[in-house]
């Protein structure tokens, strides 16, 4: 019995001593920080994709509380995260429209040949800086998969030498957009399915020579499409995603076969 008491006393005493010491330390060396930062960090998806424009989820969490960053910047988190953030910060914000990335080029190897034999680093930015890229079309997808490597969720697949986005996997972080040296990737509303799969600003004859599925600037689609939802930008037809477009005629009538439904 004495032993039990002795044991209890010793351990208890040592514990008390240590606890006291720590209590003092905690008091005198305390560092203030907002516990909500940690809380927000826990709610964010943790993909650190950088889509919000900050260095990572933790940086965004800090920015929301300390720098007053908008709370609807986290695309991967969607409505759920936004709801939580609104609860914590007391702010309200609309859910940003669900957008997905799309590579506006349909000229795969069977349509657009190579114009020289590229030998070097397998990276689009490197290829672009070496002889201007080896694709016949100087606007088309080079196919060295830089965007695919940059995608944090593996949503971009290389098919027949060009990049294709799996729209259901895309978390709209925008990492791919930043890597494409030819600026072919756009964020478009998920709901939209009709796209002009070409980005060539060249004139018709040049496009025709370079690629079998390029936009030749014939302007047929702009006449067919309702309320100017397809417009010409120079020699290129561009979908205006702010306006409704659901018209199969543009797809059927396109002589370049570059308007498709995805």
């Amino acid at each position: 019995m004495t032993m039990v008491i002795q044991t209890a006393l010793t351990i208890g005493g040592a514990g008390l001593a240590c606890g006291g010491l720590l209590a003092l330390a905690a008091k005198f060396l305390a560092v203030k920080e907002d516990p909500r930062i940690e809380e927000i960090n826990g709610i964010l998806p943790g993909a650190n994709c950088g889509g919000c424009g900050y260095a990572g989820c933790a940086a965004y969490a800090e920015a929301v509380l300390l720098k007053g960053a908008p709370i609807n910047l986290c695309a991967p988190g969607g409505a759920e995260v936004l709801g939580h953030l609104a609860d914590i910060t007391g702010e309200t914000a609309k859910v940003a429209e669900h957008k997905v990335a799309i590579v506006l080029c349909g000229g795969d190897v069977s349509y657009a040949p190579r114009k020289f034999d590229y030998n070097g680093v397998a990276d689009c930015r490197a290829a672009q800086a070496t002889g201007g890229g080896d694709k016949s079309c100087s606007y088309g997808c080079l196919g060295y998969a830089s965007c695919s490597h940059a995608c944090p969720v593996g949503a971009i697949e290389m098919v027949n030498g060009i990049a294709k986005v799996h729209r259901d996997l895309c978390i709209s972080c925008g990492s791919c957009i930043r890597t494409c040296p030819r600026h072919l990737i756009k964020m478009v509303p998920y709901a939209r399915t009709i796209h002009v799969m070409c980005s060539s600003k060249d004139k018709g004859p040049v496009v025709k020579k370079a690629c079998k599925v390029g936009c030749i600037g014939c302007t047929i689609c702009t006449k067919l499409a309702e309320n100017e939802s397809i417009k010409m930008e120079g020699f290129l037809a561009v979908v205006d995603y702010d306006k409704e477009l659901d018209n199969d005629a543009v797809i059927e009538k396109c002589p370049g076969k570059c308007i498709v439904r995805i």
Binding site: G120, V121, R125, A129, T130, G131, G133, D134
Partner: protein
């Protein structure tokens, strides 16, 4: 008075096979006008020139067809008289697109009015000289194409005491500068004196690699009596002796600070071709409309040094040199160490095209993406004392912060590392891409 030997030698360096014998003994030959000339608005570092003519305009030789668009930019002139056929954006070999003006010559080759020779350039003061250089659209003709009028008008707080004429021509195959030094030594010296006057430089050195004894002798002989402190310096034959920072060190022992410019150590370096263009502009009043290009390489039937109008297509130049014999696997604008490979021969020459090199399939080097075996050769040969082995690995892993911390921005892209690499890694391409990305990140951060 003999020439002096360089007292110093920069770190690193390699000894590629020179192949200068192909074209070295061929005197400069003037080429007839092509059927069409394509003049790029982006032949220099900095902002592309702004076109001042449109389709259908007729132009005269020496007429400004592109205005300098900013301080670091250069004017572009019509290389001959004729009609503007097209003004269009074209892809350049280096990547970015640029406007180019296609001119169909009328065969008259009429000079624009207002070309006034001024044989006694001594009458002109510093300001006039700089203005004439700017008006003539002269850019560095060694390869980088930095606008010369910017170089010869240093900021007022920097004192330039030395002018170095770069006649090293350390790139294998190329002999254009060599021929110029043999054939135009007197004019080059006059050009040097003009630049020295603009800079207030007291000392002039002409740096030539010691594998060109004839050029050294020619420049030595032509040394004008009127000049006080001028000297021909023989550099050890080693690539890259023609690189600015390395040459400055070899000649004067001064180290240009990392990230700095030669004027930080009171020096300006000018290529001999540029110097000749300055002479032409100041004494003859003529803008830059032609240059000497070495057309060489195994498949070229009669390699030679060609004086051609700017905008002449590569194919025409090769045709002038007897066409090709055997297969051509690689077309390079410039030398083999720093030149740009071209997709085909349709591209035009520019103010910076010092050479046009064709390689047959056996002399093409293929890059592989083998892992680095840490042999350290790239570290030993890097003239900037960098460690290309690990830089390339950081860049492969897209770790730009580390690469920047380890001085990737100091890389001069001379190619020594990739030349030596037994694993055949595309080291220079990694560096180039890394530098571009770091610049991009810096700009993003600044904004």
């Amino acid at each position: 008075m003999g020439f002096i030997k360089a007292k110093f030698n920069a770190p690193g360096g390699v000894h590629p096979a020179y192949h200068k014998d192909l074209a070295a003994e061929q005197p400069i030959a003037e080429m007839p006008l092509s059927a069409s000339l394509v003049v790029s608005m982006s032949q220099h570092l900095g902002k592309p020139a702004a076109p001042t003519v449109k389709k259908g305009d007729s132009v005269l030789r020496g007429q400004v067809i592109g205005e300098a668009a900013g301080f670091i930019s250069a004017a572009v002139h019509a290389p001959t008289s004729g009609t503007v056929k097209l003004v269009a954006d074209v892809a350049t070999a280096a990547g970015p697109r640029a406007t180019a003006i296609t001119i169909e010559p009328d065969g008259e080759d009429t000079w624009v009015e207002g070309i006034t020779p001024c044989p006694d350039w001594h009458q002109q003061d510093k300001k006039e000289i700089v203005e004439k250089i700017a008006a003539a659209g002269i850019t560095g003709m060694g390869g980088a194409g930095f606008p010369t009028h910017v170089k010869v008008s240093p900021p007022p707080d920097s004192e330039i005491d030395t002018l170095i004429l770069n006649g090293a021509e350390c790139e294998p195959y190329l002999t254009a500068d060599y021929r110029l030094m043999l054939e135009k030594a007197t004019e080059i010296w006059q050009g040097a004196l003009i630049i020295a006057k603009a800079l207030d430089a007291k000392t002039i050195y002409v740096a030539i690699e010691d594998n060109k004894p004839q050029a050294i002798a020619a420049m030595q002989e032509a040394l004008p009596a009127e000049v006080g402190d001028a000297q021909v310096v023989a550099l050890k034959t080693e690539y890259p002796q023609g690189a600015e920072k390395q040459q400055i060190f070899a000649v004067t022992g001064r180290e240009v600070p990392a990230g700095g410019l030669p004027l930080n150590v009171g020096i300006v370096v000018e290529n001999v071709g540029t110097t000749l263009a300055v002479w032409d502009a100041v004494v003859n009043g003529r803008p830059l409309t032609e240059r000497v290009t070495t057309v060489t390489g195994g498949p070229v039937a009669k390699p030679g040094n060609v004086l051609a109008r700017i905008g002449t297509s590569c194919a025409d130049m090769v045709e002038f040199c007897g066409g090709t014999e055997g297969p051509v696997a690689k077309i390079i604008s410039g030398g083999p160490m720093m030149g740009f490979a071209q997709a085909d021969m349709s591209g035009p020459t520019t103010k910076t095209t010092s050479g046009l090199l064709l390689l047959d399939p056996t002399s093409v080097h293929a890059y592989e993406s083998m892992p680095c075996i840490s042999c350290g050769r790239c570290v030993g040969v890097c003239p900037m004392n960098l460690m290309p082995n690990e830089l390339s690995q950081f860049l492969e892993a897209e770790d730009y912060e580390t690469a920047e911390a380890y001085n990737v921005m100091d890389c001069i892209e001379c190619g020594c590392c990739a030349f030596e690499c037994p694993a055949h890694r595309p080291l220079v391409q990694h560096m180039r891409r890394g530098k571009a990305q770091v610049m991009l990140n810096r700009r993003k951060q600044a904004s």
